[in-house]
């Protein structure tokens, strides 16, 4: 049995700054994960549909426009509504410190702000992957 971790990387909302999302996608691939890259301007609904079809273990959301408080929690809500309780959601982007605790309350388990080394993201995935083994 060869279990592979699958991760969806996407940008909800309308902002097109995908340098960070693309970097993360590529770096996670290099770390040995299977990354489904969805690109920019995705609705929470489309992200959740994709996460379910792809049966991913993690969903990574990137946003720089400031719409994170509205859009990140909506992704978590729709995932849970559609029974995907085991998918772990994390986020990144220009996110003020004071919003992070709110996002965590809403089920976004980690938030990576600019300048975070990729190793931190990998550590997060490694320490949490046992929870999504299925």
């Amino acid at each position: 049995m060869s279990r592979k971790i699958r991760i969806l990387i996407s940008k909800p909302g309308l902002d097109g700054h995908d340098r960070g999302a693309k970097y993360i996608a590529r770096a996670l691939k290099d770390a040995g994960y299977e990354v489904i890259y969805m690109g920019i301007r995705q609705s929470p609904e489309a992200i959740v549909k994709t996460a379910i079809q792809e049966d991913v273990d993690f969903v990574g959301l990137s946003l720089l426009s400031g719409a994170h408080n509205e859009l990140f929690p909506e992704v978590v809500r729709l995932l849970r509504e559609q029974g995907a309780n085991d998918v772990i959601v994390f986020g990144g982007g220009v996110i003020p410190q004071e919003d992070i605790s709110y996002l965590k309350e809403q089920g976004i388990e980690a938030v990576f702000t600019p300048g975070t080394p990729i190793q931190k993201v990998i550590e997060f995935i490694e320490t949490n992957k046992e929870r999504v083994l299925h």
Binding site: G13, L14, H17, R41, A67, V94, I118, Q119
Partner: protein, 557 residues
């Protein structure tokens, strides 16, 4: 065999004596040095043999072909660059206040930031606008919002730059309509619309339509403005976002000029005369931290563009060959860590832009890696420009770094790199093709990946991020946009749709629809009619979406 010059002979001697002794005791910090974009940098640059003819051909005089030394003969001795801070957030009322404040602080031009729904042609009440209304700029849904945005600002006195691309024609129409209500004629309006769709496909993402109809809208604007709004800069061909996406300095210039070539080709193809529109083309570049590389980049860009316009497109007017550009300091160079350090970065970048001969400049605020800038931060950013202008003395002579052995060498080197790219893109069948193939995006992403990997490995130092870090940082004050803004705008829209003459709106939209179907029609007057009837931005764009279809991202890595 050529005889070694005296300088070369002396250099060899120096290397074998003075240098050798020191290197044995004190080796250099690294084995090799390079610019931020990986161009190799030598230990020492020496005068290069250059004939007088070559000087005149490649460097010349400011205000004359090939404009290497600048586009005006007096540069900042005549007038400083336009200090133009990109601003806008929340409602039209709030942004109007910010503009008035900036003008009162000595800013000399306006630069409007629109929110993402506006940039993508959605009304605030569109479901896709959730969370985004008023966030990265001001929300403009109709002419009504635009009237509020410029209330009390005389449009014949200021020049206004608008960062708007896919729906540029619509926002320009709103602007013209506001001016007319103020009693200002179209012919008097000065300003710029970004209107550069190709870089949206490459790097910025706020596209709506596929390339073909997008290029039609752009050439429609060229044609309309050349007759009706002659002082308006109809496009700002932008490398800024390409660089932000992680390109090298040379790629920034290469891809921007390649976009420019595509626009010129498109305009010529629809029958415009090159000298009729080329003088209104403007450019927009980034300024990063590597001071000399950036200065050389600007100088090289001017020289290459002049040559392209003259030789490839047979432009006759000098104005058509001039690369005039706006600069913004590099957003991606700012750090969320120890944000005050960003003031220093912005200062270096300001110097790069000014020594590179920019026509206007936006300086970033220190807190932009954290969120929207506060008023304090915006003021410091503007003061940075003012200090460089009034106190540093670098403005007292034209192109002060010309003749620096290093700068001239670097200028040549960047030119060489750029020409390699331009040739490659040409053989691919032009920039649209190169973008559709994903070639351009891939080149940028590879550079971005390499750059980030160097930071991760510590090979590239970013102060405060991977070196000289501090443990705990106290949270900074940031500006918040009213989260209920979408509701406010939606109610405004509801009222508008009730109170306007809807028959007139429908008629104007129908005319636009029919115009869109006929490629020979210039859509600008039709869009202006719809704008004046208070059709909303979303309504106008939806008609065009129906007719033109929508572009979708298709290239990954």
């Amino acid at each position: 065999m050529d005889k070694k010059s005296l300088i070369e002979q002396q250099k060899e001697k120096w290397e074998n004596t003075t240098l050798k002794k020191v290197l044995q005791k004190f080796p250099e910090q690294k084995e090799s040095f390079s610019t931020s974009s990986w161009l190799p940098v030598e230990r020492l640059y020496l005068p290069r043999q250059m004939s007088e003819e070559e000087y005149l051909e490649r460097i010349g005089f400011p205000g004359e072909y090939p404009f290497t030394r600048g586009v005006q003969p007096t540069m900042y001795r005549g007038r400083f660059w336009t200090m133009r801070q990109y601003a806008g957030f929340g409602t039209a009322e709030e942004s109007n206040q910010r503009y008035k404040y900036l003008l009162s602080q000595g800013q000399t031009g306006l630069s409007v930031a629109f929110d993402l729904p506006t940039q993508i042609g959605y009304d605030s009440d569109d479901p896709r606008s959730v969370g985004e209304v008023g966030k990265v700029g001001v929300a403009i849904d109709s002419l009504e919002d635009m009237e509020i945005l410029f209330r009390g600002i005389p449009l014949d006195k200021v020049s206004t730059s608008m960062t708007i691309n896919a729906p540029a024609a619509v926002l320009l129409a709103f602007y013209i309509a506001v001016a007319q209500k103020q009693g200002v004629a179209k012919e008097q309006l000065r300003g710029t619309i970004q209107n550069d769709i190709l870089k949206e496909y490459i790097a910025r993402g706020t596209y709506i339509f596929p390339p073909k109809p997008s290029l039609r809208l752009i050439t429609n604007i060229f044609e309309y403005c050349s007759k009706e709004v002659p002082k308006w800069n109809t496009i700002s061909i932008s490398g800024y976002h390409i660089r932000e996406a992680g390109s090298t300095a040379a790629q920034e210039v290469a891809f921007t000029l390649a976009d420019g070539i595509e626009y010129v080709k498109a305009a010529i193809k629809v029958g415009l005369d090159v000298d009729q529109f080329a003088g209104r083309l403007s450019f927009f570049f980034n300024a990063h931290n590597d001071l000399f590389e950036e200065i050389a980049k600007f100088r090289a860009a001017r020289r290459i563009w002049a040559k392209i316009m003259k030789e490839k497109f047979q432009a006759k007017k000098e104005k058509s060959m001039m690369l005039r550009f706006h600069t913004q300091t590099g957003g991606s160079t700012l750090t969320a860590q120890q944000p005050d350090n960003n003031i220093v970065r912005v200062t270096i970048q300001t110097l790069a832009a000014v020594l590179g001969g920019t026509q206007s400049l936006h300086t970033n605020s220190r807190d932009e890696a954290l969120g929207l800038p506060t008023e304090d931060s915006v003021r410091i950013a503007l003061r940075t420009q003012q200090i460089v202008a009034y106190e540093s003395g670098v403005t007292n002579t034209v192109d002060p770094l010309a003749g620096s052995y290093f700068i001239e060498n670097l200028t040549d080197k960047i030119e060489e790199e750029v020409l390699k790219y331009l040739n490659k893109i040409e053989t691919m069948g032009g920039m649209v093709q190169a973008i559709e193939n994903g070639y351009v995006q891939k080149e940028i992403q590879d550079a971005a990946y390499k750059y980030q990997q160097e930071i991760e490995k510590g090979d590239r130092v970013v102060v405060g991020v991977n070196k000289f870090t501090v443990e705990q940082e106290k949270p900074k004050e940031i500006l918040r946009v009213n989260p209920l803004l979408r509701k406010v705008q939606s109610e405004k829209l509801m009222k508008l749709r009730k109170n306007r003459n809807n028959q007139e709106v429908d008629k104007a939209l129908q005319a636009l629809r029919e115009g869109a179907r006929d490629e020979s029609v210039n859509l600008m007057p039709l869009i202006l009619d719809a704008a004046k009837a208070y059709a909303t931005l979303g309504e106008i764009c939806n008609v065009l979406r129906d007719e033109f279809g929508e572009y979708r991202e298709s290239i990954v890595l």
